[in-house]
């Protein structure tokens, strides 16, 4: 699983993001020993958590003892760099986070926040999971998802296109076709 010749494990980062929301349930479960052990078992070396407006603080760890190195922060102006350097992304179900990650071609597990009222976010996550673009989980099922995931089976997501809408709008308003 990515070991270089001198036996040192290659750095493989798991990036967790909750966007601008508060999603303590996700941060807690990711910080749990079960999940951290499972991530280690699957070859990840670092865990970086963007915790947003949450109040639960994960426990930092340098990972010197061979366990998962853990770090966290609240917000950043752009998570694009963190997404780019990640080998696995675990995200809340916000459409912005989801599509930013999919566009970068990163493997993604979306975790649905059951505490949100009128959980329309789960519709998008479930639909994309059905189309095999990502894995979808709840905080309680995250561990099994990580254990059983086969990232090679995920299908790449082709970016969307707004030109059909623009064409229809122009046509309606009577503008000539380009």
């Amino acid at each position: 699983m990515g070991e270089a010749e001198d036996g040192v494990k290659r750095k493989r980062v798991v990036f967790v993001t909750v966007g601008t929301t508060c999603f303590d349930a996700l941060v807690k479960v990711v910080d749990s020993q079960k999940v951290k052990d499972e991530l280690s078992r699957r070859g990840y070396t670092h865990l970086l958590i963007q915790m947003g407006r949450g109040s639960y603080l994960p426990s930092k760890s340098t990972g010197e003892d061979g366990s998962l190195a853990v770090d966290y922060f609240t917000f950043s102006s752009s998570i694009a760099d963190h997404l780019r350097s990640a080998s696995l992304v675990i995200s809340h179900a916000g459409s912005g986070s989801i599509f930013e990650t999919l566009k970068l071609g990163k493997p993604l597990i979306v975790v649905v926040n059951e505490d949100l009222m009128d959980n329309h976010q789960s519709e998008l996550a479930e639909e994309l999971a059905e189309r095999k673009h990502l894995y979808c989980a709840h905080p309680q099922t995250l561990n099994q998802t990580i254990a059983g995931m086969d990232l090679k089976s995920l299908l790449p997501y082709s970016p969307g296109d707004a030109t059909p809408v623009a064409k229809l709008i122009n046509k309606f308003l009577g503008f000539p076709e380009d």
Binding site: G19, T20, G94, S95, G96, F99, H120, Q121, E123, L124, E126, E127, P159, G160, D161, A162, T163, P164, V165, A166, L168, I169, N170, K171, F172, L173, G174, F175, P176, D178
Partner: protein, 233 residues
């Protein structure tokens, strides 16, 4: 004899305001029906040199990102001047579109930007009680009316946030009373796969939107007057 005339006159004078009122209501009703009938019918041919003033409603998070995706493929010289409205509590959205407009001005070499940026009081904050929401909705409608009177857009683009409802209702009202005829386009958010948002439902059912776009086929099956346009993101 005089008594008869007296009765006649008093009947008429007490009926006159009522008659006026009924006539007024009937005219408004017919006007509303006419607007609903005309809504959704394409406009006649237009030269690209005849731009349309455009109101663009922004919303937090994914809404603005989706709207920007749409704006990138719209010919800016056809949709000008552009007026951006975001909720008062939403600072990021206006920042993002300012960046977009600045880049546009830089690349086209046009001095100054043909865009204005405004904020509107929200009808309801996320999690706000529905009781206090009644008052805040009234305040936001008054504010929306004030902004709309200033802008009087010919095109309205919106994609879901609650802020668009007062603005679209007022645009409809302007059509009824003849202040300004506008074409209202609504793109339901990509996050809505099986159910419409409340804003979407209102604009669809009340036939306020001229064209209603959905990004997933399941919604087009449920709401046949909608256009399925695939994912924008």
């Amino acid at each position: 004899m005089e008594k008869n005339y007296g009765c006649c006159f008093s009947n008429l004078s007490s009926n006159f305001p009522i008659t006026c009122f009924i006539a007024f209501i009937t005219i408004i009703l017919f006007r509303v029906l006419y607007v609903i009938y005309r809504t959704g019918k394409p406009l006649s041919k237009r030269a690209p040199q005849q731009p349309l003033s455009t109101l663009i409603v922004l919303g937090s998070g994914g809404h603005t990102a989706e709207m920007i995706n749409l704006l990138l493929v719209l010919q800016k010289d056809r949709f000008t001047p552009r007026f951006y409205i975001a909720a008062a509590s939403d600072n990021m959205s206006l920042q993002k579109v300012r960046v977009l407009e600045n880049a546009l001005a830089d690349s086209s070499g046009v001095k100054g930007i043909s865009a204005e940026f405004m904020q509107i009081y929200r009808s309801r904050e996320v999690g706000q009680s529905y009781v206090t929401s009644v008052w805040t909705t009234l305040v936001s409608m008054a504010h929306a009316l004030w902004l709309m009177i200033k802008i009087r857009p010919q095109v309205v683009l919106c994609n879901g946030p609650g802020t668009c409802i007062p603005l679209c209702v007022i645009a409809f009202f302007f059509k009824v009373v003849g202040i300004r005829w506008s074409s209202i386009f609504y793109v339901e958010s990509i996050a809505r796969v099986k159910r419409l948002s409340l804003s979407g439902l209102l604009l669809y059912k009340l036939r306020i939107a001229d064209q209603f776009f959905v990004q997933w086929p399941q919604l087009q099956r449920k709401y046949p007057r909608a256009y399925y346009v695939g994912c924008l993101m």
